[in-house]
């Protein structure tokens, strides 16, 4: 059984901690069952299911720490693992940045587990693949897609009295539909905690429509354009920016949040005043994790591995265009005398009520971008990124989509982009975040691509 209840998990962790002879000991118990199905050329290529239950023990003497891992849970194995962690710790070099373990925390109640997802079996996955392949076959189109579902839990505990438990489920689904002449391609991607909220057929239909509509694209000159970035496109640049909000890097002057002459840009207005970004682990659409700080979705925790036990809370990162918070490792926060906010498990970009269709209707001239691809940092100083549009790029004129256009390479910074904000529509879930479609003026396309 890969998914243990809170009581079962606590029993194992308590047993482990009772074996401890170190100054401090923590235990991290993870269990999951992950299943997937992959298809291409309208046929299933691979499918599989893996279960995992593993315990990681970290022992600390002074500022020396050691970690050992095991997936056997009899008393003898547990004790052996604690002893091994202690041996590794004794031989480890001192980490001058080590900060003592946290005591008990108040964790928020988060509903990230859905019984519907927990119940998924191989037949369910095959049916999902069929629902996605069948309409494509019937329309003489080619589908390639990937489905991955997971059900699992994490429990953490330490000898200072901390204990936390969270069970979560997730489904990630993506589909690429191509026309058989190779001239059109469409894409849709969805992620949910509760599989009953996922409509595979509807997502496939979106990809089908984009594939058919994107065929025979015309070339436009590269340059600066007003764009509407669909949430699938906007999320990537925003995620990269959120991943660069580490306080230490800013303090050290090697971040876009570093300031001329030293110090950080915390409190400065860096974006259009309509930019508001926050995180809320209890948001029902993107339920997060009650604890973070060990790397998190955006890293910054350092050390690699499980959570350091910090409680996740609602945090405002950008308010009315002003940088309000950065995240910190516990060491750096202590050194700077600031609150050790962990990186969030997901973020919410507050938008409006306008739908994508309404945003298109309100656009005189512009480019609609379905998705961005192969995004890489060009300059960490300015957060300049390059990448390409993919799977559905269209020219908008007088409120209607006129024709598909060839893909572009962009060179753009999310900081510049969020200064050129024209409008933000209704947010939708994307990779565990809530992101609206964004209308941006003067988005920089630097060359054309022949890729479909």
């Amino acid at each position: 059984m890969a998914v243990l209840s809170k009581e079962e998990a606590k029993q194992i962790i308590d047993k482990v901690l009772a074996f401890s002879k170190a100054d401090e000991t923590s235990a991290n118990l993870d269990g999951s069952r992950t299943g997937n199905i992959r298809y291409a050329r309208n046929s299933v290529s691979t499918s599989g299911e893996t279960t995992n239950l593993s315990l990681s023990v970290t022992s600390v003497f002074g500022k020396k720490s050691g970690t050992a891992t095991i997936n056997e849970f009899d008393d003898k194995s547990l004790e052996k693992t604690v002893r091994r962690a202690e041996e590794i710790a004794k031989l480890a070099p001192e980490n001058p940045e080590y900060v003592g373990m946290l005591g008990q925390q108040n964790y928020l109640d988060i509903k990230s587990f859905a019984a519907s997802t927990d119940a998924i079996n191989p037949d369910f996955r095959a049916e999902a693949a069929f629902k996605s392949i069948d309409p494509c076959s019937k329309k003489d189109l080619t589908a390639a897609g990937y489905w991955e579902d997971s059900t699992g839990f994490t429990a953490i505990g330490n000898t200072k009295g901390l204990f936390g438990y969270n069970a979560a489920t997730s489904v990630d689904f993506s589909i690429t539909v191509r026309t058989n002449d190779g001239l059109g391609s469409g894409y849709a991607v969805r992620d949910v905690n509760d599989v009953s909220k996922l409509d595979v057929a509807l997502a496939t239909e979106v990809a089908i429509q984009k594939a058919q509509a994107s065929s025979k694209a015309r070339a436009l000159e590269p340059g600066k354009y007003t764009v509407i970035l669909e949430p699938t496109a906007a999320v990537d640049l925003l995620r990269n920016m959120m991943g660069s909000m580490d306080g230490r890097n800013a303090d050290e002057g090697r971040s876009f949040l570093g300031k001329k002459g030293g110090g950080t840009r915390l409190g400065e207005k860096l974006f259009d005043e309509r930019v508001n970004i926050y995180s809320d682990p209890q948001n029902l659409e993107i339920p997060g994790s009650p604890f973070g700080g060990g790397g998190g979705r955006f890293g910054g925790g350092g050390g690699g591995g499980g959570s350091d036990g910090r409680a996740q809370e609602k945090v405002v990162w950008v308010e009315n265009g002003v940088v309000k918070n950065m995240y910190y490792s516990r060491y750096w926060a202590e050194k700077k005398g600031v609150k050790a906010i962990p990186p969030p498990s997901g973020f919410i970009f507050a938008g409006g009520n306008e739908s994508l269709a309404e945003m298109i209707k309100g656009t005189e001239k512009g480019i609609l971008v379905t998705r961005l691809w192969y995004i890489r940092a060009v300059d960490p100083q300015t957060l300049l990124y390059t990448g390409l549009t993919r799977d559905g790029t269209f020219y908008i004129e007088n409120g209607v989509i006129k024709y598909p256009v060839k893909n572009f390479r962009f060179n753009e910074s999310p900081v510049i982009m969020l200064n050129n904000l024209e409008a933000a529509g209704k947010p939708m879930r994307q990779g565990g975040n809530l992101v609206p479609p964004l209308k941006i003026r003067d988005f920089t396309f630097t060359s054309l691509s022949d890729a479909v």
Binding site: S43, V44, I70, P96, A126, G303, L384, V415
Partner: protein, 545 residues
């Protein structure tokens, strides 16, 4: 673990795609990395249990991989050790064909015949279930069995035999040199890998292999507090299919010139000393004027352009559409290959796939489906002549046997087609870098890999670098910054006008080439001599925020 997590652990800003096998690995003591794995006789017994179970359930083909994957990372910044991680992952993966369809099952920590036979039966059951959705039965290129054979990477020093203390001293020493030479911050890492793989198949092969990889890397950061600007310089090392001997410095492995580069031996102390000084110099370097330039690309840079614009588009599974939902497809379609006259590049361009090259990341004796490795042409004198294909694809391109480039990044992953080492052949006539530069009127000499991005069919790309030198009228006149070049694969390789001779040949490579869903990573090298490309579009990447 994904690339972002790795970078968080390592504190590095570039140079990695994904960390293989780490998520599956258990943390162990450094001594455990030197413990022997299972005896080869035991592995054969376990393998036979799997093969027999699969056949008895109706499999027409089966292979079993018994894998032990060992990793060690030593991670430091300035005067501190941030982390030392040792991991071990052991398990068995079984792949079968039943009812004409693939099935796969894997089992962790399996050491009994019963466990392994059960996994083999599961694999057959999955194949039979999947066969209901099958369009065409799998057809494997014939492959003879090799009996009981073995292959060991020809390393001189197993990195795991070197005490952790010595590795820590090396890194703290190089960090100290960086700080003394003008760096404000420095992150450094040693990353060492040993794959112990046993393969057996119903074709009658029992193959035991021992593979080693090594990657020393660093990033130095220089800051100008007055302007708030910062610049970085990454190591000019390469991940190699070598042991700790890669860090044994030999003068013959050094290429001198505008900065020192390295061949089969890497002087980390020397490189970081130069790197710290160069990061500082970059702060005051001239910002490039956008326009067309002749590019002189050093092997420490060109490997990544070869990887993205040649290695990937010539993977047959991409060409056929199997990667359409993730990595993408390819512009190098079958009709272009069939025409026998598709000019991938100029007649100076010959690109070779090779799974045998000594010291390379891709070198093995046999691939992960029991095919003996080889070397073959992909592009010959500019013309597209072949792809990279494995056993179930060979027939599609009229090959009688697989190219031997099948790989899985763990015992728990399904093996599939992965990139061989793909390298640019050196020029046939003697030509040094100095002589090449003498002829350039307006050019940029680029050393080291930087930012990289390419579209999903591998037409349009953009690359940065570590060091950029302006060439005017045959002479290097100074350092540039904010440089990136954009081109189209076919246009770029057709603009190749010169390639230096093999005295300049060096390998670059990646530890973390990502492909597949769920994503797997593989390690691959790309060799070349310095090459010149005429009239490439260069953009200026400076922005103000």
């Amino acid at each position: 673990m994904n690339r972002r997590d790795f970078i968080q652990i390592a504190g590095l800003s570039t140079g990695a795609f994904m960390l293989p096998g780490f998520a599956n690995g258990r943390t162990v003591s450094p001594e455990a990395l030197l413990e022997p794995g299972l005896d080869v006789a035991v592995k054969k017994r376990l393998a036979d249990a799997a093969l027999n179970a699969a056949k008895s359930k109706g499999a027409t083909y089966a292979d079993v991989r018994i894998g032990r994957y060992l990793n060690q990372f030593v991670i430091t910044r300035e005067d501190k050790v941030q982390n030392i991680v040792n991991t071990e992952s052991y398990g068995v993966g079984i792949r079968v064909i039943a009812n004409g369809c693939w099935g796969f099952a894997a089992v962790a920590d399996a050491k009994s015949d019963v466990q392994i036979a059960k996994a083999a039966e599961d694999a057959v059951a999955i194949a039979k279930a999947n066969s209901k959705l099958m369009k065409q039965p799998v057809e494997l290129a014939p492959q003879k069995g090799f009996g009981e054979v073995s292959w060991k990477a020809p390393i001189k020093k197993n990195a795991f035999e070197v005490p952790v203390k010595e590795k820590v001293e090396l890194l703290l020493g190089v960090n100290d040199a960086a700080m003394k030479n003008g760096a404000n911050y420095v992150n450094s890492i040693l990353f060492m890998v040993n794959e112990q793989k046993y393969f057996a198949s119903t074709d009658g092969s029992y193959i035991d292999q021992d593979i080693h990889r090594m990657w020393p890397n660093f990033t130095v950061t220089a800051i100008d507090p007055a302007s708030g600007k910062f610049q970085t310089r990454n190591a000019l090392s390469s991940p190699m299919g070598m042991g700790y001997d890669y860090l044994q410095v030999n003068p013959k492995d050094k290429v001198t010139g505008v900065t020192t580069r390295y061949n089969m031996g890497y002087d980390m102390l020397e490189d970081i000393t130069a790197g710290a000084q160069q990061a500082k110099m970059k702060l005051s370097a001239k910002s490039v004027e956008a326009g067309k330039y002749d590019l002189i690309l050093d092997p420490s840079h060109l490997w990544l352009t070869i990887h993205e614009s040649v290695g990937h588009p010539l993977e047959l599974d991409r060409v056929l559409g199997y990667e359409a939902n993730f990595a993408g497809t390819s512009f190098a379609t079958l009709d272009k290959w069939q025409s026998k006259n598709f000019k991938y590049g100029s007649d100076k361009v010959t690109l070779i796939a090779d799974k045998t090259q000594v010291g390379s990341l891709g070198a093995v004796g046999w691939d992960d489906e029991g095919v003996n490795t080889k070397k073959w042409d992909l592009v010959k004198d500019g013309v597209l002549v072949n792809y990279q294909a494995i056993r179930d694809q060979a027939k599609i391109i009229g090959e009688k046997e697989s190219h031997g480039c099948c790989y899985a990044d763990s015992w728990s992953s399904v093996q599939f087609q992965r990139m061989a080492n793909v390298s640019l052949a050196s020029g046939k006539t003697p030509l040094s870098v100095e002589d090449m530069i003498k002829d350039v009127k307006k050019g940029i000499y680029i050393i080291g890999d930087g930012s990289f991005s390419i579209d999903q069919q591998r037409y349009n790309f953009q690359f940065g670098g570590q060091l950029f030198y302006e060439i005017k009228d045959g002479k290097i006149v100074g350092m540039l910054k904010d440089v990136a070049y954009q081109s189209n694969t076919q246009e770029f390789w057709n603009s190749c006008v010169q390639v230096c001779d093999d005295r300049d040949y060096r390998l670059g490579g990646s530890f973390f080439d990502g492909k597949g869903q769920p994503s797997q990573s593989s390690a691959v090298s790309h060799g070349s001599s310095t090459a010149r490309f005429a009239g490439v579009n260069v953009i200026n990447t400076a922005r103000k925020i």
